[in-house]
């Protein structure tokens, strides 16, 4: 089955979710582009957008239309040649509108799982529930005559386990997009023990056509991205807990968030990132990963406690940030949560005290924004970390420890055969987490 044939009938399960909607958008555009090629004129392309929520599916179609419109406006130059023989379409506006209609026409919103029975390719992005995923995969597999391929977006469940339990005969591959899929460049591809090579080759080609950066990962719970992120988060949490002998809870959260953002020159501090992903999601991913890690405990009582107090993080449906460890106003961090008082303490009240106790900041420090696109950033980081290394202050100590731990996590991912290479680890952090430098570096040597 060649590339466009495989993509003639596709289903995205969980299509109205955060990840599903992005995968649907990208796939709809890819399929529409194929359908508009002269050689595919007489072929039907069908993309089922399957989700259990009717309401969410209506919202999805609006989102899809708006996003395809944006994409079409960006590629109007190419679209003019795609529709060159359509004499009725003259202005960009007419061409763009036609393209949006063509993309949307491929997509069939549905709440019926049966619609997947005719698909040759299934993308799955339902919630991270191993039993549910297995149940859905085996149901489709048993009822379909197409021997479909299953691409799961799981963040932490081993692919081989799903394969065995759902009895898929190697027709499953981890195709792990990052949030939001339409924007994030990274896709981790995870082969299970018995995954057929064809699935990998196709996924590579598909990702390439979507202009994604592919990093292969071993089939180990958490893969590279969460393998690093979850441990990095645990480090930040433990450090914050240790600080509580001298600082309040809110102050400790503020300090470690600042260290991991400003001192490490990252796009977000660790607690902001946990809030962004969702405290519940982090807790859940850790719980899925932990049983596979006999020599470490990837668990945080603090996360349990904070969730029990009703604080969850995550995003509102309009994409704005919900309050979590930190409180946000117009996207800016304004307060930190105090588990003891169960309320938010304004950062302005303790910021200068905390900053003073962190001590002297290296003069060569730069905000992430200023370095991330800088072609000379390697030199800037060398200079900064050399200075950080020589700085004697509480803040510098915390930052060095943090950076070294992040590196150790990265190196262990290679040693423990999660990542194939050190470079893959760095690529994941650079492209999936927007870090400006890879964790495996020798800046602090």
């Amino acid at each position: 089955m060649e590339y466009s044939e495989r993509l003639q009938n596709v289903t995205v399960i969980g299509a109205a979710g955060k990840m599903g909607s992005g995968i649907l958008l990208l796939t709809a555009i890819e399929m529409a582009d194929l359908s508009l090629k002269p050689e595919n004129k007489n072929r039907q392309f069908i993309l089922n957008a399957m989700d259990v929520s009717d309401e969410a599916l209506s919202g999805l179609m609006k989102y899809l239309r708006a996003q395809v419109l944006k994409a079409a406006e960006k590629k109007a130059v190419q679209l003019r040649s795609v529709y060159a023989d359509r004499t009725d379409l003259i202005d960009n506006e007419e061409i763009i509108r036609e393209y949006v209609n063509d993309v949307v026409a491929i997509v069939r919103p549905t709440t019926l799982i049966e619609s997947a029975y005719n698909s040759t390719l299934i993308f799955e992005a339902i919630k991270e529930d191993p039993a549910l995923k297995v149940k859905i995969f085996s149901q489709i597999n048993q009822n379909s005559t197409k021997s479909p391929w299953f691409y799961t977006n799981t963040s932490s469940i081993p692919i081989s386990k799903i394969d065995k339990e759902a009895n898929l005969g190697g027709r499953i591959l981890g195709v792990h997009f990052y949030n939001p899929p339409a924007i994030q460049k990274l896709v981790e591809i995870i082969k299970g023990e018995n995954t057929l090579q064809e699935l990998v080759d196709f996924a590579n080609l598909y990702s390439k056509n979507l202009r994604k950066i592919v990093v292969p990962s071993h089939d180990f719970a958490g893969f590279i991205g969460n393998g690093h992120f979850m441990r990095d988060a645990i480090h930040g949490i433990r450090e914050a807990e240790a600080l509580q002998s001298k600082y309040s809870f809110a102050e400790s959260i503020y300090i470690m968030n600042k260290i991991s953002q400003d001192y490490l020159i990252r796009p977000m501090g660790i607690f902001q990132l946990i809030d962004y992903v969702g405290i519940d999601v982090c807790q859940y991913i850790m719980s899925v990963m932990n049983p596979y890690l006999p020599n470490e405990d990837l668990h945080s009582d603090l996360l349990d406690k904070i969730l029990a107090s009703g604080v969850r993080g995550g995003q509102n449906s309009d994409g704005s940030q919900k309050d979590g460890f930190l409180k946000y106003e117009k996207g800016k961090v304004v307060a930190a949560y105090d588990i003891n008082t169960k309320s938010y303490a304004p950062i302005a009240e303790f910021q200068s005290k905390c900053d003073d106790s962190l001590g002297k900041v290296p003069a060569s420090i730069l905000p992430w924004k200023a370095v991330v696109g800088n072609p000379k950033k390697d030199d800037l980081f060398k200079a900064y970390f050399t200075e950080l290394n020589q700085t004697v202050s509480f803040g510098a100590e915390l930052a060095k420890k943090y950076a070294l731990r992040s590196r150790e996590i990265g190196l262990n991912l290679v040693k423990d055969k999660v990542a194939f290479t050190e470079n893959d680890v760095n690529t994941v952090l650079l492209t999936g987490f927007f870090h400006a430098y890879g964790p495996i570096n020798n800046y602090l040597d």
Partner: protein, 413 residues
């Protein structure tokens, strides 16, 4: 055309800000002034300088295509909105794509020559930031032949001038053409930085030449131009009064504050025809020659030029159409610095279309205002020295791809 049968002057020029990307005040999602506000601001400013609406006999308003950018036609109806005193006086709207502004000027000049008016208020206006650039390209494509639109580029006019720059570069010198285009961009921005109403007034880019040298991106834009080669999308209005000797007295303006129209040339190309030679602006050349003949001057007597640099390559080709450089040598002329503000003949001293901005229907009027400022010593930081042996200024305003052309020769009154 021969000498004008009557003396014609321009006085009391005014430009609004050229609004669009680059200005600090500009935000695509924030509300902005519309046609009404721009027309009123520019019109009232001129009326104030010439003693009020009572002194005006008639008005001309230039606008390219508000019918599509703003769902507005019948533009002459906005003239009395400027000032009640203009109610029931004649007003006319003229259109010639990006050459609209100078058509408005010429219409005013002709009224003075015909002695049907002694004072004409001339305005140009365009508000284009109402749609995204990709849709604006559809609207602006109306300046070309509609039957060519289907085969044209998504960015229709950049596509046209990309073809011109490609032909020019291939015929003469690829590297030098790119360098000259970058140099043109640098001159434009440096001039605009001195002019508070310019769209690029806030531009702080350090390495302008590096921007100008960027490789074009044919996938997202056109083959042979980068975005710095192109004038931006602008909102704005310009206005000026055109008066006779009697009109000057009526308005109480001294000749020290006036410039005289020494001659002008108009030329029209056939919109259904593609250019015979992509590397030349033939219609521009014809219009400039007529203007020189009408004024009885030569290029050696020109102190400064306002030319229609909708794209950097158009600026370079204009130097050849005027005769400052031979065919194919415009790139050297520009690279040697002749068109810079300290060069032999400073071009576009307030930034031109690339630096000051290009509110299409207003551009021709803006050119006249800049020349009025320069020749009467009102150009503030933009002021260049006007030497007695070269007292004249020249403007070239172009509609479409070298189709609707007006060139005017001016001198301090």
């Amino acid at each position: 055309m021969t000498k004008l049968r009557r003396k014609v002057y321009m006085i009391a020029g005014y430009n609004t800000i050229s609004m669009g990307t680059g200005r600090k005040e500009f935000h695509p999602k924030k509300e902005r002034p519309g046609l009404e506000e721009y027309i009123k601001e520019a019109g009232q400013a001129v009326l104030q300088m010439i003693g009020g609406a009572k002194n005006v006999d008639e008005s001309v308003i230039g606008n390219f295509i508000a019918a599509r950018f703003n769902r507005q036609a019948n533009m002459a109806g906005f003239v009395p909105f400027i000032d009640e005193g203009l109610k029931y006086k004649p007003a006319i709207r003229v259109e010639g794509a990006c050459g609209t502004g100078a058509l408005a000027l010429v219409t005013g000049i002709k009224s003075i020559l015909a002695e049907t008016a002694e004072v004409v208020l001339v305005l140009g206006v365009e508000v284009q930031n109402t749609v995204k650039a990709i849709y604006g390209a559809d609207i602006l494509a109306a300046a070309g032949w509609a039957k060519e639109r289907k085969d044209g580029h998504a960015y229709f006019f950049p596509g046209k001038f990309s073809d011109r720059s490609k032909a020019y570069a291939e015929r003469f010198d690829k590297e030098k053409t790119r360098q000259a285009m970058a140099k043109w961009f640098q001159n434009a921005i440096e001039n605009a930085r001195l002019c508070p109403t310019a769209q690029e007034y806030h531009n702080t880019t350090k390495d302008l030449i590096a921007c100008g040298m960027l490789n074009p991106n044919p996938k997202g834009f056109v083959d042979s131009l980068n975005v710095f080669d192109c004038s931006k999308v602008s909102d704005g209005a310009s206005a000026i009064a055109i008066v006779s000797e009697e009109g000057l007295i009526r308005c109480g303006i001294s000749k020290n504050d006036a410039i005289e129209i020494m001659g002008f040339g108009q030329a029209e190309g056939d919109i259904t025809q593609t250019p015979a030679d992509l590397t030349q602006l033939d219609t521009t050349k014809a219009a400039v020659q007529k203007a020189f003949e009408s004024a009885g001057v030569t290029k050696e007597q020109i102190a400064t030029v306002e030319c229609h640099d909708c794209f950097t390559i158009a600026g370079i080709m204009a130097t050849e159409a005027i005769g400052f450089a031979e065919h194919g040598k415009g790139i050297d002329f520009v690279l040697e610095g002749n068109t810079a503000r300290d060069g032999k003949v400073p071009f576009n001293t307030t930034g031109g279309l690339i630096g000051w901005g290009h509110p299409t229907g207003a551009t021709g009027v803006h050119q006249a205002v800049t020349i009025w400022e320069q020749l009467t010593g009102k150009a503030a930081l933009n002021q260049i020295e006007i030497k007695p042996e070269r007292p004249y200024a020249l403007s070239i305003n172009m509609g479409g791809d070298d189709k609707t052309l007006v060139s005017i020769v001016y001198k301090k009154a």
